[in-house]
Symmetry: C2
Subunit: 361 residues, 2 copies
């Protein structure tokens, strides 16, 4: 497949951390769950350059609310001199299928009428997301990956990469993720979905894009943030400190800093995220289930965090054991950090050292 | 104070577990946070009879969504032959101030206009709730309690009982509770409050009682249930089992049993609970903070559960250490059970043996 050499030159003219999203058409998609998308656009960014034998490509897969800009949301892990070193590797970030940061999703125009797909959008799976990434990577002239890396939802994608076309991925770094959501993980996602779907502005998904179910989406995001931190992280960040005052106002409104934080996170999210996307993406990860890694020919590095109660260590250990049972080289490391699930985004040091060695090995 | 002997005879004519709520007027209340209630009614139930020197009374304090019917919601702990034995003790259950099961709360009629107080209701504290209980107990002719017992919010009330009038309570059994909410506990409550307050039907609290913010209240309750169970309890109850089917429907609606459970719990709650009550009660427990038990003359028994991540053991251990520092007899026991916070409601066996011995000691 022909490669446009401009793809790899554009970044050099830019601040390496500036957002420079490009788009690729990857064709129609028959979705695993039975739906059909007549055309799929992928938003992506790349950093660094392919080496002479094109053996240095690394795909980064984002978590629920992320995007193609891995050098931004994972800046302690990805960048010049970082563990996933854009001076050495050709790093590719994409927005996931079903998302709302440039890749085809429920907020994209339906080709039939130009109005957003909304809940006409077909159910997509983690496998569909990976299929789209695989097509993009081929368009970029890459046949095999040095590595695929991701946390949380991105970890499920990375796992799936190693199983779809065995041999196409040498190494997979999977952090704070799992082979299948537990009932509690599904429960947190469902409460978030219900917050959106019970908002009268949701209107069965066919909301006015100018008047979305922002209240429900904000509550859903608060719920997300509650699950991303740990008790210790909440204590350290907020404790029982009050918001801009020394004494209680004794009312139902904001009193504590943690309340203000959650409201801010919830409201901010509604300005950048499509409510239907949240439904489709959480549905996709709730459906996801792998019981074995038989057939994989990849090497695995799994990390988890002792304070992450929503994606607990035993899930990463189970992945590691599945990898060993499949005859793959695998390592699992539990990192002790108090940040909860967010640790996979915040930790460049411990994960970083492990990933640097893993990629260089 | 005169006692109506009928109070203690009525129960004998009834199924001992049937609900037989009575009401007492306890007068006006100047609230700790500055508000004023011109009259307060308390809904209560009693079981058993006072002994000759009225030294066998036990007050039971309920958690967020409970009511006076302790023999129902705490049936493994309270009843004939149970650890809190209604054949031996005169047991009093009350609905808390600010609640919606018969005691004055935001859904009660405002004496000025007969319409519900709603958000005209003053902020009430755990101390106010206990003040109301203390008045009721005096009306019932009881000066000192053998014990006060409660879990979660009820544990805060039990703690407060031991500090308001030292010497009035011999023993306090406090389970799955704390001296002050952490940021994470406040955060979960705030997300629940926001689910209600961002529901357009809430209307600043002045909703039509026939058209309440049921969507927000249901989501708030789902969030509560997520925090009441543990990962292991969710796995045991639901796992990844599907709802009345063998294969996915691949849609945004209910797929997993855990989703159906949460929706059912959320919807059921809206038929019996007032949305404003949820706001006032969660606010009261978020405000609550005790840094010392100095001055108490009570004996304490604290229990906590190793799988309870929302009221974790270290909070009960801290209470125990505060009791010892105040020179009080105190015990703390961590019970190993997989049910999460709900364990304090479900465990009659381990807690029960401890409480039976504590009350008999």
């Amino acid at each position: 497949m022909a490669i446009d050499p401009a793809l790899f030159q554009e970044n050099e003219r830019l601040d390496p951390r500036a957002k420079a999203v490009r788009f690729a058409e990857v064709g129609e998609l028959r979705c695993e769950a039975g739906g059909f998308l007549p055309s799929v656009t992928v938003a992506y960014e790349t950093w660094g350059e392919p080496n002479s034998d094109r053996s240095n490509a690394v795909v980064i897969c984002h978590a629920l609310s992320g995007d193609s800009h891995a050098i931004g949301w994972w800046d302690r892990m990805v960048g010049p001199g970082r563990p996933i070193d854009t001076d050495r590797y050709f790093v590719i970030g994409t927005n996931s299928l079903g998302g709302c940061q440039g890749t085809t999703g429920p907020a994209s125009p339906h080709p039939g009428d130009g109005a957003p797909w909304q809940t006409r959008f077909p159910i997509v799976t983690v496998g569909d997301m990976v299929e789209v990434q695989m097509r993009l990577v081929r368009i970029l002239g890459i046949e095999t990956l040095l590595a695929v890396a991701g946390g949380s939802m991105g970890g499920m994608q990375a796992l799936e990469w190693t199983l779809r076309e065995p041999g196409r991925v040498r190494r997979a770094f999977i952090t704070a993720s799992c082979a299948a959501h537990s009932a509690m993980q599904i429960g947190f996602n469902e409460a978030a979905r219900q917050a959106v779907m019970r908002d009268p502005r949701w209107k069965g998904g066919h909301y006015d894009p100018g008047d979305p179910p922002a209240a429900g989406l904000a509550v859903a995001r608060m719920l997300g943030h509650l699950s991303y931190l740990s008790e210790a992280a909440f204590d350290a960040k907020f404790g029982r400190r009050l918001q801009n005052k020394d004494t209680f106002d004794y009312h139902l409104g904001t009193e504590f800093q943690v309340e203000s934080y959650l409201a801010h996170q919830g409201d901010k999210f509604t300005t950048r995220f499509d409510a239907n996307s949240l439904l489709y993406l959480t549905r996709a990860i709730d459906y996801y289930e792998r019981r074995s890694l038989q057939g994989s020919r990849s090497e695995y590095l799994f990390t988890s965090f002792d304070s992450d109660w929503i994606y607990p260590t035993h899930q990463s250990r189970a992945l590691h054991e599945m990898a060993l049972a499949a005859g793959c080289h695998s390592e699992h490391h539990e990192v002790s950090l108090p940040f909860g699930h967010d640790a996979f985004l915040l930790d460049g040091e411990h994960q970083g050292a492990l990933v640097r060695r893993f990629l260089e090995s």
